[in-house]
């Protein structure tokens, strides 16, 4: 049983890592096609990609959209979680379901609905409309993480602050937010990676200025190239770094 288990483990990891290894390996290809044989190693494709105006613009757009939409989603989600965890409101279970609902709907359908409404209102597709869609998908996530993290010990501290005369805004800013900092940071970084990597909403709701996944998509249309491998490897590095950070923050909270 033991050797069989290890063999299975090795095969599974080989399968899981195969495309990533191929992607990264052939981003260094000294040739025009990202397929075997590996003719030599070069950093030219990275230089080429980083010098590419369209890629750089898309990269910057992606960063701006990801940071801004994650902030908006986090603030809205945090306030809503605070309200539903602390104040007894009629129908709060239904409200919770409503706020989580977008999580259960395909991004394609969210994008299509927004496109219909924006078209009807005469609003042109842009980074703003795509950003609105990204807040829609990240708000449930931020809300759920904040809501789950609101425990009873914060409740006591909040009540103490209130009894000492702090306004609700000061309670939120000086007591609740700092006590929830690890969860807030984790929610923020997770949102960041979802927005950063999101394709279909960005594809349908942007036009001239696009985000990186949409730019990669249009690069793909001109065929295989090690340049795409290089972009892919860069995106992988950024996402992996964000995930590690979120993971470390959550692990510290658990400890």
């Amino acid at each position: 049983m033991r050797p069989l288990a290890w063999a299975y483990l090795a095969a599974a990891y080989a399968f899981i890592f195969l495309p990533v290894v191929v992607l990264v390996a052939f981003s260094f290809q000294d040739g025009r096609l990202p397929v075997p044989p590996l003719k030599g190693l070069t950093l030219d494709w990275y230089a080429k990609v980083l010098a590419d105006r369209a890629v750089r613009a898309a990269l910057w757009n992606s960063v701006v959209v990801a940071v801004l939409t994650s902030l908006v989603a986090l603030v809205l989600g945090f306030l809503a979680a605070h309200a539903l965890a602390r104040v007894r409101l009629p129908g709060s279970a239904a409200l919770r379901v409503l706020l989580i609902a977008p999580m259960t709907v395909s991004y394609l359908i969210i994008a299509l609905g927004l496109l219909a409404v924006f078209n009807a209102a005469g609003i042109r597709p842009s980074l703003v409309t795509a950003g609105i869609g990204h807040v829609v998908i990240n708000l449930p996530l931020c809300f759920a993480i904040c809501f789950a993290a609101m425990g009873d010990q914060q409740k006591a501290a909040e009540r103490a602050a209130r009894d000492l005369g702090a306004s609700e805004a000061r309670v939120l800013w000086l007591v609740s937010a700092p006590m929830l900092a690890p969860a807030l940071a984790a929610a923020f970084f997770l949102s960041l990676t979802f927005s950063w990597d999101e394709f279909i909403i960005a594809f349908l709701l942007t036009r001239f200025d696009v985000t990186l996944p949409v730019e990669i998509w249009s690069m793909l249309r001109s065929g295989l190239s090690p340049a795409i491998n290089a972009v892919g490897a860069l995106v992988f590095l950024v996402s992996a770094a964000a995930v590690m950070l979120a993971e470390l923050l959550l692990a510290r909270r658990r400890a």
Binding site: A12, F15, P19, P36, V87, A101, P102, L220
Partner: protein
């Protein structure tokens, strides 16, 4: 004003921004889409109506019905294969890998998840293509004479999907395996159950919620995905999301695209209803 009334007002005030956002950019668009699905196209203009014609077209036209069937077939195969491959992996990580390495093993298993979604399918195209690693290996070892046509087939779509969802299912199954008290398996063994009987009658039923939760998420994400079939499957057969995108792009037929989306939603809801008994979405 009484204390509770002030508190309630404060609560609504804090909730308002999130609720307003959800209403304006989720509920309203969703309602608009459903309304649109009953509209008619006259030439290139959309005429509001209460016409079930789009739905009738989806159910009767072979191309439309075909896309629905393709989507269902691919999704069911992917869900089943992913679950069967993920269960042993999760079990090995939970029971064979030393405890302090388990977290690292899981993290390594999901690391490729963070490659860009678009790039992941592209990477499989490189692996499975005519001159890709797999074909080089097969022809190099003289297992096949000619390179296999894997890319641009349904098989490639399924491989791309399975790669992604094995990770997801491994996580949910692992989570329910580690909650299992070891004494249960020992008790079953003491009562004379063999390894297989212990698995079949004790471990599997108790970890079913983890399997079903992962399988449901797989189903939902897989059936709504446009990129993977578009990049890996070629254009020989369409899935539902591909058909939706086609209606949007080429013909600008918003009503039909909306109706197809509603059908997609109905399929997902049916999957939810079928698995609701075992779902533990709050525990992931």
């Amino acid at each position: 004003m009484s204390l509770s009334a002030r508190e309630a007002r404060l609560g609504w005030g804090l909730l308002a921004p999130a609720l307003a956002w959800t209403f304006a950019f989720f509920v309203l668009p969703f309602a608009a889409m459903v309304a649109l699905s009953f509209a008619r196209m006259e030439g290139r203009t959309i005429v509001p109506a209460a016409d079930p014609g789009n739905y009738l077209r989806i159910l009767t036209e072979p191309a439309m019905r075909g896309a629905l069937v393709n989507s269902l077939e691919i999704t069911l195969v992917v869900t089943l294969v992913s679950a069967v491959l993920a269960y042993p992996l999760a079990a090995i990580i939970a029971f064979r890998v030393p405890r302090r390495w388990q977290r690292l093993a899981l993290l390594a298993a999901v690391l490729p998840f963070w490659t860009s979604y678009v790039v992941r399918s592209y990477a499989w195209l490189l692996v499975l293509g005519q001159n890709g690693i797999v074909n080089r290996l097969l022809t190099g070892l003289n297992i096949v004479a000619e390179p296999l046509e894997i890319a641009s087939t349904r098989a490639a779509t399924i491989i791309g999907f399975v790669h992604f969802f094995v990770m997801l299912l491994t996580l949910t199954i692992y989570a329910s395996l580690v909650q299992l008290p070891p004494s249960y398996a020992r008790a079953a063994a003491d009562l004379g159950a063999g390894r297989w009987a212990t698995f079949r009658h004790v471990i599997l039923p108790l970890t079913l919620p983890g399997v079903v939760t992962g399988a449901f998420l797989t189903f939902v994400l897989c059936i709504g995905d446009y990129i993977t079939p578009q990049i890996l499957g070629g254009n020989t057969e369409l899935t539902l999301p591909q058909l939706i995108m086609l209606q949007l792009g080429r013909s600008g037929n918003f009503p039909l695209a909306s109706a197809l989306s509603v059908v997609l939603m109905i399929v997902v809801s049916l999957a939810y209803a079928a698995s609701a008994r075992w779902l533990r979405l709050d525990r992931i």
